[in-house]
């Protein structure tokens, strides 16, 4: 009995002395507590390329943090000290973790941290880090490859624009939907019926609406030449303003400013199906000979295209929304698929500068095709023959095209 008591006393003394060696551990350890070592090498540093609002905290996990059911470490608690104030618990995370991203911070306020490993009934605290403050960088080097690609494509656009400006001919293949524009406008002129132009239901902050308004410029010039009527109901006030300006400019270019009227473009409502109900009504009452459905469309695409089809109008549609393209293909005579919508304005105008930009974009597509072929072949043969060189090429390409 005496021996057992002495043994417990020695163990108690040993634990007590050990805890005093580390001043940041708890000074007294109850023998019933599951003691664990604290995490070490805790470092807080600025998180790169953010808006000066994040700090990254990393540490080496406690040596008692082992994989398995018998892991004594149940997790980590992260404490933040703001401008030398009181510690504040900001997160409790799972065992095995070795980093944490503290968000929502402010520039020029200094933060320090400490991390505690926790068992069921014990908490071992690390040293406190140096004080750091979030910083804002001028350049985001994580996007260097994106910048490089943008630079190559933009440079080729500029090159081809200059090339075309010198009077050199640029070849662009025929786009069926756009070849039909002349015929569609001619048909409306012959029939003495109006042309209906629907620019989608999005505002001017959508590139599809921008593309539609650009095409409108070319269409309106022809309409002015032929003295055909155009009707353009819109669902956004800004689109109405932009469309009026565009048609007005087209009529002035055609030398017929007197024929322009603000009534050609009218606002209906921002409400999606309210707009559709009104446009359907216009279709069946005014029976336009030609309908352009160009821009951003959603659930209304089939309703509009089907009503246009039922009145026998020739319909030219175009959108970059993959979910709506099937409906246009099913119900319209010609459909501009995605990229063709954006190419349309250059194609219709035939202006060297716009055609130059189209050619420049093709360079981007060429780069994409080359990268895909090289990447897929190196990935396939690298995996089959286990050639490290090929696998490195694949890995490099994957890194090159990664956007953080």
């Amino acid at each position: 009995m005496k021996f057992i008591l002495s043994l417990f006393s020695i163990i108690f003394l040993f634990v007590n002395i050990s805890s005093q060696d580390n001043p940041e551990s708890f000074p007294f350890v109850d023998s019933s507590k599951i003691t664990i070592a604290p995490p070490t090498s805790v470092i807080a540093e600025d998180f790169k390329y953010d808006n000066a609002e994040k700090l990254s905290i990393t540490w080496i996990p406690s040596i008692d943090d082992q994989i398995g059911d018998n892991n004594k470490v149940k997790g980590y608690k992260i404490y933040r000290i703001t401008d030398g104030g009181q510690p504040e618990l900001i997160a409790e995370i799972l065992p095995g973790s070795n980093n944490y991203l503290d968000e929502g911070l402010e520039e020029n306020i200094w933060y320090s941290y400490f991390v505690s490993s926790i068992s069921d009934n014990f908490e071992a605290r690390s040293n406190t880090t140096e004080s750091v403050t979030p910083k804002r960088e001028w350049l985001n080097f994580d996007l260097k490859f994106l910048f490089l690609i943008a630079l190559i494509i933009s440079s080729s656009v500029i090159y081809y624009i200059r090339h075309a400006s010198k009077g050199k001919k640029l070849f662009v293949r025929k786009i069926a939907g756009l070849e039909a524009v002349d015929d569609a406008i001619g048909r409306a002129t012959e029939m003495g019926r109006p042309i209906l132009f629907i620019p989608g239901i999005h505002d001017m902050d959508d590139v599809q609406t921008l593309a539609a308004i650009t095409i409108l410029g070319n269409v309106a010039r022809q309409i002015a030449d032929y003295d055909t009527k155009i009707r353009m109901p819109v669902s956004r006030s800004l689109v109405m303003t932009a469309a009026r300006e565009t048609i007005k400019a087209a009529y002035q270019t055609a030398g017929r400013p007197d024929a322009y009227s603000d009534d050609m473009v009218n606002y209906i409502t921002d409400e999606q199906f309210g707009y559709v109900a009104a446009v359907d009504g216009i279709m069946v009452r005014e029976k336009p000979a030609t309908i352009f459905l160009l821009g951003a469309f959603f659930a209304e695409s089939l309703i509009l295209a089907e009503t246009g089809n039922s009145i026998g109008a020739i319909q030219i549609a175009g959108t970059a929304r993959p979910a709506q393209l099937p409906f246009f293909i099913a119900a319209c005579d010609f459909t501009l698929i995605g990229e063709e919508l954006f190419a349309a304005s250059a194609y219709l105008s035939g202006e060297p500068k716009m055609l130059g930009s189209l050619k420049g974009q093709d360079i981007g597509k060429g780069i994409a095709m080359a990268a895909i072929v090289v990447g897929v072949l190196s990935a396939t043969f690298g995996e089959i023959w286990d050639v490290q060189f090929l696998l490195d090429i694949k890995q490099y390409l994957l890194q090159f095209f990664t956007v953080r």
Binding site: F327, G338, A371, V376, L397, V403
Partner: protein
């Protein structure tokens, strides 16, 4: 009051559906109510959410809002014909800013991420062994590679679709049409659920025939 609202909703629903027969006065009334109420509703929402909720309340904390306010004010210059041309400035700002912002977004999502997602091995020992060599993965990766590559061929405008290139473009358009077919079927099914919802309202909530 609840009964009255139910009858109004049913009257308007049937008015819109009557368009399936042909354009008629009932549809015209419903259309006018729908357009009028929704236009008025959006004026109120935009005034209170944007002008009051964002600009008026937040202007003291964020001076950048004054720039937006000024651009909005310039838009109203259209109401004065002599200086109406000033309203082109905010329009030019919106168009320019939109193009610039979207350009980098499209470079990232439509070029970089798309290429990255297409660089896949067509065959690998990691797919499995023997007859279980992960044929679905092999076929899936082949579809991704050929579909993306030939799709790009189709949208390449600098070359006529003739010869081998024409074959590539044709394969590309096949891929597009198969995708559109699948999307068509999927969307039609979701539209059916909308129709069922309306019929459920008419026969359930209104007529009480569905319990």
């Amino acid at each position: 009051m609840e009964h009255f609202a139910l009858w109004v909703a049913a009257f308007l629903t049937l008015g819109i559906i009557s368009f399936l027969y042909k354009d008629n006065p009932w549809y015209k009334v419903t259309e006018a109510i729908f357009v009028g109420i929704s236009a008025g509703y959006w004026v109120v929402v935009l005034f209170w959410d944007n002008f009051y909720g964002k600009f008026w309340v937040g202007k003291d904390n964020d001076s950048m809002l004054y720039v937006g306010g000024l651009l909005g004010l310039l838009m109203l210059m259209r109401l004065i014909p002599k200086i109406g041309w000033i309203s082109r400035w905010p329009l030019a700002f919106i168009v320019g800013a939109t193009s610039g912002l979207w350009m980098m977004n499209y470079f990232a999502s439509n070029i970089m991420v798309q290429i990255q997602g297409t660089i896949v091995p067509l065959f690998s020992a990691n797919f499995g062994e023997g007859m279980n060599a992960g044929y679905s993965t092999v076929i899936g990766n082949l579809v991704i590679f050929i579909g993306t590559f030939t799709g790009l061929v189709y949208f390449f405008f600098s070359k006529e679709h003739k010869g081998v290139y024409g074959v590539g473009a044709r394969v590309g358009i096949f891929f597009l049409m198969i995708t559109f077919g699948a999307a068509f079927g999927y969307t039609v099914m979701s539209r059916m659920s909308l129709l069922i919802g309306r019929l459920d309202f008419l026969f359930g909530d209104w007529l009480g025939m569905i319990k």
